[in-house]
């Protein structure tokens, strides 16, 4: 175990607990408006202050943890499945299949992903499910490249050749014998991907194209923070800090995995 892995796991573990027990941890109803106490600075009663409708920012942020983590895990789960399968197929079969998939990857990598996501969200209804889907469907190409390169390294090793000689089906060779050997890059990319998916979701919500109010998300709290930037700094500071810590957690985890499995750095 290394420091990165430990610190990253602790951060993510705490966040998961917050997401699961948000209901019990939050002192107020995140949707309850209190118009007499609008835009109150942090105090003992409201430790992160209140927003423009008098809602408790702390409670809203606890609930928003659910949004961020579920978008992260589900979107990246989807992109990992797509990316890994395409990478395995591309690397294993080679030939025209490989050329086709790689051309597609090149095209996807050349296009500003964030703009593509904006473009899609502009035409479908912005809600949490569509966001998961769009992020998942647009963020697989780098994993495909990565997995393909790893497959190319091992596909001519003896154990793969002996599988072929033993007459195993291609699917069996790919998923039972090759896949375990490329799990490390998949794990690292998965962890990094969650961080960037959370960043993307919050940026979309910030722009008003993500999770729609009144459902709380760190991005849309920040968005109202921008409107009150002159008078209510707490609306901008705390949600941003939450995103920052969360993404740091996942990036630390990724770095930890990378070091754990590369003997040179260990």
């Amino acid at each position: 175990m290394n420091r990165y892995l430990i610190v990253g796991s602790i951060i993510i573990f705490i966040l998961l607990l917050i997401a699961i027990f948000a209901k019990f941890l939050s002192p107020y109803d995140p949707y309850k408006q209190d118009l007499l106490n609008r835009l109150k600075p942090p105090s003992i009663k409201h430790i992160f202050g209140t927003d423009e409708l008098g809602r408790d920012v702390f409670s809203r942020m606890l609930y928003a943890t659910r949004v961020s983590l579920s978008v992260g895990f589900i979107a990246v789960g989807l992109s990992t499945i797509i990316g890994a399968i395409l990478g395995l197929i591309s690397g294993y079969y080679g030939g025209w299949v490989d050329s086709l998939i790689m051309r597609l990857v090149d095209i996807m990598l050349c296009f500003p992903t964030f703009f593509l996501i904006l473009l899609v969200i502009a035409f479908v209804k912005p809600n949490i499910y569509n966001i998961m889907l769009v992020i998942g469907l647009t963020s697989w190409p780098s994993l495909t490249r990565y997995v393909r390169a790893e497959v190319l390294k091992i596909k001519n090793l003896e154990f793969v050749l002996s599988c072929k000689l033993a007459g195993f089906s291609s699917a069996r060779i790919i998923f039972i014998h090759i896949l375990p050997n490329v799990l490390v890059p998949i794990l690292v990319t998965f962890s990094l991907g969650i961080g960037s998916a959370i960043l993307t979701e919050s940026a979309l919500s910030f722009l008003g194209l993500g999770v729609q109010p009144p459902q709380p998300s760190w991005g849309n709290i920040l968005s109202s923070g921008k409107d009150y930037i002159h008078i209510a700094w707490w609306l901008s500071l705390f949600p941003g800090l939450a995103i920052f810590i969360t993404v740091t957690g996942f990036n630390l985890l990724a770095e930890g995995f990378r070091i754990l499995f590369s003997p040179k750095e260990r």
Partner: protein
């Protein structure tokens, strides 16, 4: 070399067609036709709607529509904006210089600081300076850049009042002398440029550090040092030259990120560029404008990558003389 360049051009065209096809599909297969959106507007007459359906050929099958669309887009004819009925290409061209200015300045910053920090980290690896820089690089991977933008606006704009927080010009711009005008624009550019360059700087520093360390551990460097070549010369002349070649490609690849980021940063800083125009177009469902901006954005990104490829061929003698 001519053969390689020719190959790149073919690749450029294929990728461009691919991107145009994806954009076309996204817009055409999503629920709701562009003409549906017009129904909500009472100003649009039945004739105008028919005209738009004709213009986009919505009564024809998909492949013919794509072909027609592609022909029009080569001619840069994207139709008129729904909002003010001005030609889309005109609206984009008005905003393009500001965006190019922002992106080119960001790229210069990325190139300069990425190399600078990367070399410092490699030379002083595992020492204090390296650890500090690496720490900040790690943080800048995780920080939401638009949040950083807001914090900078609060700190530099609202609390310290030393930098303007929106637009490209002050209100009294017309009355300033030439020198003051330049200074005014520079002041307005500082925050957007620095913040949009940050991610790229982090990436490039990390890359340069890694490959520089690899070079510094190699045999030819050990030989150069043992025969008494000054360390500066070894680092900057021998090792750095070999590191520099892939940098061109790396900077080219960071282009999509910079251009994609422009959509957020231009919106936050109310910067009068194409990114903010795109954001406004998306928010108001201005279909022709969205189309036009997607195509121009994709084209610029591809062009940047293509130029990076050409530069790569130029700087790497192994490719050049093949």
């Amino acid at each position: 070399m001519v053969k390689i360049i020719f190959k790149r051009i073919i690749l450029f065209i294929i990728t461009f067609i691919g991107i145009s096809f994806i954009t076309f599909l996204v817009i055409n297969l999503s629920p709701g036709k562009p003409s549906d959106m017009l129904e909500f507007s009472s100003k649009i007459t039945y004739e105008a709607k028919e005209k738009i359906i004709k213009l986009y050929g919505l009564d024809k099958p998909l492949h013919i529509r794509y072909f027609n669309w592609f022909v029009r887009f080569i001619k840069l004819d994207f139709g008129n904006s729904f909002k003010d009925d001005r030609p889309v290409i005109k609206k984009i061209l008005e905003r393009l210089p500001a965006t190019l200015l922002l992106n080119i300045l960001s790229l210069i910053l990325i190139f300069f600081f990425g190399i600078f920090f990367g070399i410092i980290c490699a030379v002083y690896r595992n020492k204090f300076l390296d650890k500090i820089i690496s720490f900040f690089i790690f943080l800048s991977y995780s920080i939401p850049k638009y949040w950083l933008a807001i914090l900078c606006m609060i700190v530099f704009g609202i609390k310290l009042k030393i930098l303007p927080i929106s637009g490209l010009r002050s209100v009294n711009f017309e009355y300033l002398t030439f020198l003051e005008k330049c200074l005014d624009i520079i002041k307005h550019l500082i925050l957007p440029v620095v913040i949009s360059a940050l991610g790229g700087i982090a990436g490039l520093t990390r890359y340069i550090r890694g490959s520089m360390i690899e070079q510094l551990n190699s045999e030819y460097i050990k030989f150069a040092i043992s025969k008494g070549t000054p360390k500066n010369k070894v680092v900057l002349k021998h090792a750095f030259r070999n590191v520099l070649i892939p940098v061109v490609t790396i900077v080219g690849l960071s282009l999509p990120e910079v251009i994609g980021g422009a959509f957020i940063f231009e919106t936050i800083f109310a910067y009068p560029g194409m990114g903010r125009l795109g954001y406004e177009a998306i928010m108001s469902r201005d279909y022709p404008l969205i189309m036009g901006i997607s195509v121009i954005t994709a084209f610029l990104t591809l062009l940047g990558n293509f130029l990076a490829d050409l530069l790569y061929i130029y700087v790497d003698p192994r490719v050049r003389y093949k």
